[in-house]
Amino acid sequence: MSRSRWKANTLAAIFCLVWIFPVYWMINSAFKPRADLLTTTPKFLPTHPTLDNFVTAVTQENFLTNLRNSVIVVAATVVLSIAVGIFAAAALSRFRFAGRRAILVVILAVQMLPGTALLIPMFALFNTANLLGTYYGLILAYLATTLPFSIWVMRGFFVAIPVEIEEAARIDGAGTWRILFSVLFPLVAPGVIATSIFAFIAAWNDYLVAYTFMQDQSHYTLPVWLASFTNPTSGTDYGGQMAASVLFALPVVVFFLIIQRNLVSGMSAGAVKG
């Protein structure tokens, strides 16, 4: 072990300790009984581990309703983004035509809009169309973000497929649509999975749109439920909220670890904002 290696490892250890601390504190607090949470000297280890906080979290009156809302809206958003986006991604990667670059520029530019730029007009339009407080309104609002980046990310996977494969299929007499469905789509399957995860994370994490559009406890999604996690009698129940945060963050962290190879490329289109 050389001196410089030792120095780098020490720095890494310090960095890791500092950076993981908030995550550790969330988990640690989630497993502590109330008496161990509210101590003037913090307990760094959950010495009396308990699942009480998790029980409190999932027995909250709106948890199941809000979980169901989240699952329905997120699933619909992911399916629609992929189903509609995959054709556009194929068009923008395997064909050359007038206006192609302009479309790609618009797709990238949409990601950079401030949140309120779409939130305000959608709110007014949905108010007129009676879509506020409905799944449809929320799904449409999410598509505004997830569809463009899904097209962008899937396009990257299409571009990576060698032309020779396509040519071989053509020589065998396959038509354009046949090539698309039997050759190209199966080959971008891994890309579809990665893109689905991006779309899932974007819709699952949204707080602002759901909070603004749904306007009712029973219509909210999980992030809004999480933020309003308070006990009316005794203020915020931090143990319960940390347990709820663990449950809410868990699928996202797992998915992140699955697609870490694709993270950096997906980010350039603003798929998961840092």
Partner: protein
């Protein structure tokens, strides 16, 4: 990036049409793009047009019930430009964005460089730690922050208290004054932004040819000089992209500020995002909120154009 289909012949001949009729343009891409095009027009283009339109009207809370609103010309814009609250929140946004971008870029560059020095266990562990921080949904991390910085039982106050430098900090209320609220929010944003910056930069930094670095060391250059002269030169395009993205994202930060300080105390942490949101959805001055959004969008548009240009320059093939 991979190259695209090089010629028309390979990819855009539809079902072979008889040659005699001349070449018809291939309509396949049109059919492929139609569904997505319709959705994007519906959920993006139309709302943006409507945003601009409402910014020229007195659309407000009454309108939400009656549907009535009047065309008021540039009135919303003159009101806005004459409002000190707007200029203050613009100034806050610019300064705070600068602080967040500088903080996360400097730390991100440091961590990226540290990663090049690590092998095996520590490299793996550091990468996992970065991904964990990055993966935390920002609603969850904002709530964790509120707990970390909670007056009375928060672990941060306890830690500061143990240092015996700042006096008794055990009941310090971080949301109680602007400087503390900004510090807490800044720490949260930087904590979540560093992983993306560090990992993206590291992907580029690992590509720096080692011959260059060794040659410079043989010439007697110190580590810092080698980094400044050679590594930074190679990192320039990536640094530019990551910086522009960071500026755009930090400019638009909302959730973290909303959940930690609600823009308070008073309006002191009310950046443009919070200011717009409060105008449109607390006071329901939709027309005024639309005008602020239009102005913000125009500001960001310049940056976005710059981003896309840099992306093209860095070899992204459209």
């Amino acid at each position: 990036m991979t190259t695209e289909t090089p010629s028309k012949a390979t990819s855009s001949t539809a079902a072979p049409a008889p040659r005699a009729r001349g070449r018809r343009p291939d309509l396949t891409p049109l059919w492929l793009l139609t569904p997505a095009g319709l959705v994007i027009v519906l959920v993006t283009v139309l709302p943006i047009i409507y945003l601009v339109y409402t910014s020229f009207t007195d659309y407000n809370q009454r309108t939400l019930f009656t549907g009535e609103f009047r065309y008021t010309g540039f009135e919303q814009y003159t009101t806005l430009l004459g409002s000190s609250a707007f200029w203050k929140s613009l100034l806050r946004t610019v300064l705070f964005t600068a602080a967040m971008v500088i903080g996360s870029m400097v730390i991100g560059m440091g961590v990226s460089h540290l990663l090049t020095r690590l092998r095996g266990f520590w490299r793996y562990t550091t990468t996992v730690v970065l991904i964990m921080a990055w993966a935390m949904p920002n609603v969850a991390s904002s709530l964790v922050w509120n707990w970390l910085f909670q007056p009375g039982y928060g672990v941060v106050n306890w830690g500061l208290d143990q240092m015996r430098v700042f006096g008794d900090t055990s009941s310090l209320n971080w949301a109680g004054d602007p400087a503390h609220a900004y510090t807490a929010i800044w720490l949260l944003i930087v904590w979540q932004a560093v992983p993306f910056i560090a990992l993206t930069l590291n992907a580029a930094e690992e590509q720096v040819p080692s011959e260059y670095l060794e040659a410079a060391r043989l010439d007697g250059a110190g580590e810092f000089t080698v980094y400044r002269v050679i590594t930074l030169n190679f990192l320039k395009p990536t640094l530019l992209l990551v910086t522009i993205l960071s500026v755009i994202w930090d400019y638009n930060v909302f959730n973290q500020i909303w959940l930690i300080s609600q823009g308070g105390p008073g309006d002191s942490t009310s950046t443009l995002g919070v200011f717009t949101y409060k105008t449109a959805f607390v006071g329901f001055e939709i027309g005024q909120g639309a005008a602020i959004s239009v102005v913000t969008t125009l500001m960001l548009l310049g940056l976005t154009a710059f981003y896309i240009r840099s992306l093209l320059k860095s070899g992204e093939d459209l």
